[in-house]
Symmetry: C2
Amino acid sequence: MKPATIRDVAQKAGVGLGTVSRVINDSPLVSDATRIRVQQAIDELNFIPNPTARRLSLGKTLTIAAIVPFFTRPSFIERLRGVELTLAESEYALNIYNVETVERRDQCMRQVPRKELADGVLIISLSPRNEDIPYITRADVPIVLVDANHPSLTLLNRVVVDDVEGGRIATQHLINLGHRRIGFISDFLENPFNFTSSRDRFQGYREVLEGAGIPFNPDYHAQGEHERYEACRLATKILALPDRPTAIFASSDTQAMGVLEAARDCNLRVPEDLSLIGYDDIEIAEHLGLTTIRQLLFESGQRSVNVLLKTLEIGLIEPKCDVLPTELIIRHTTASPPI
Amino acid sequence: MKPATIRDVAQKAGVGLGTVSRVINDSPLVSDATRIRVQQAIDELNFIPNPTARRLSLGKTLTIAAIVPFFTRPSFIERLRGVELTLAESEYALNIYNVETVERRDQCMRQVPRKELADGVLIISLSPRNEDIPYITRADVPIVLVDANHPSLTLLNRVVVDDVEGGRIATQHLINLGHRRIGFISDFLENPFNFTSSRDRFQGYREVLEGAGIPFNPDYHAQGEHERYEACRLATKILALPDRPTAIFASSDTQAMGVLEAARDCNLRVPEDLSLIGYDDIEIAEHLGLTTIRQLLFESGQRSVNVLLKTLEIGLIEPKCDVLPTELIIRHTTASPPI
DNA sequence: CTGTTAGCGCCTTCAT
DNA sequence: ATGAAGGCGCTAACAG
């Protein structure tokens, strides 16, 4: 049987359509008597206003779109959790656009920011490229960049973390412990998804090296897919170097796990023989006792939604760039180098 | 500026509304000449049919709802990934209803299975209770139960795993190694969310114990929240027993990690002093070398979507119960007990 | 305060 | 093969 409509309710309550609509929307323009009568009819019919019709009539989708790559990776999940929980309290639904291929990336970046699809868009961890800019700037929908950036997009709200600074902190920590030979394992610095975090962390790494008078050794930098296996493979190669590093900075905790495996394979003790620092402080990091750089993943999700909701409520506001802090978490994978 | 509508396209192409609609929907009832003309107008106007209007007109939501608890837990994520990837190829959108409280559980279970909200519903890892049954059976929407069950719901499609069997396999593995004192750490067997997996695995555990002539020792069973910390706490208590178990079966890999921590705290080597087997085979299990029971998480998501889509396409079909296999993965946390 | 009416953008008959 | 018209369920503006 078909679900009850506003019309059924009106008939049952013996009122007009408009009145039912007013009751639904908590309009003050209804007498208590009729409100009760209508409410009764609603309850009896187990009526719920059809969201699709509502959206069409309102000209709003009541939906927020989140474009996020590889949404099963722990760090992205944690961001999404912040998004989801914050949004759950609102009247907005969440649509997740999971990006796992470059084609999909481009398609989402260009097609999703549309009024017909969402009232607001969160672009997470995917920095637009120059070719994307026209699509984004002409979008008639508020957009918030989360963990993403682009020089010419200062007119967008952004919630970011200073990855260059994070790279500095990590590297400085290792140097403070006395390390001079410091490896860096990362995603591909140049990649079709335009992930920028590794690039930024690498920059911080190099800045600090230079500041400490340590020349950058290209052999100590290996890049590859963002996967444990791959990181393990890369680390194994670096650790086989005649003058192997005494410390490795992995640009994510996941990759740090790969390094841990490589160290195990090479019979290197961590941290006695090899120090290791990761990045993100995902949940598993604590279990592993991994020293890492914490960033506020959950909070980045929360904040970005709040900014978006405020924009939707108040209308365009002065675009802000919200820079979340970064923190060194010292656990048990870093120590002074062997003498 | 407002997005282009079908009307704009019609005007630009010099045809009627209906024709544009036909072109959009690949109707054969359009001559090639006009089709091209219309397509040109569509491209020029950068027109995309408004999904909301489409849904209202079609009387379909073109949306699949997935009710899933704690969607950030690795095992649920992996199921969701199967759902998402499979659905991405279809014309259906995915709406995730994340359940983290009992109130929300009840609300979702009762309100989500409605035609107005979704064309199909996936209920993941949440077994309906008796009180939910009326809401579910009267739902006018196809429902697929994933990793969930209920005796009176044989009319629903289900994709499940035999957790009792999984519990048996895990326990048998330990017994085969020579263990007689086997602990079991699990979620609360009775819980307001009505998670049933721990209960089933526990049953398998007890069956095998009994079959081996080993009396069940209640001291060896501890239940608590599904969290590493909690599992660690529970394991610590069990391991402090005068006659502590030589092996522990944790009802999830996450909890197994807690046990690992407890063992570490107690200076117990795994597997020399304590054997440990988990459940799920989430990604981290491999890194940890954890012996565990693998279930096809990703595939459960895929299959459930396929069943749902087929139902939507073909209409009601004979409800099936798809039982996915379970597999023992032996790694390095189980061995014969110390003599 | 309340009933009525005109859309929202699209799909689908029904004529032509 | 194509145009015109009615309707999907709701909101909002208007008249009373």
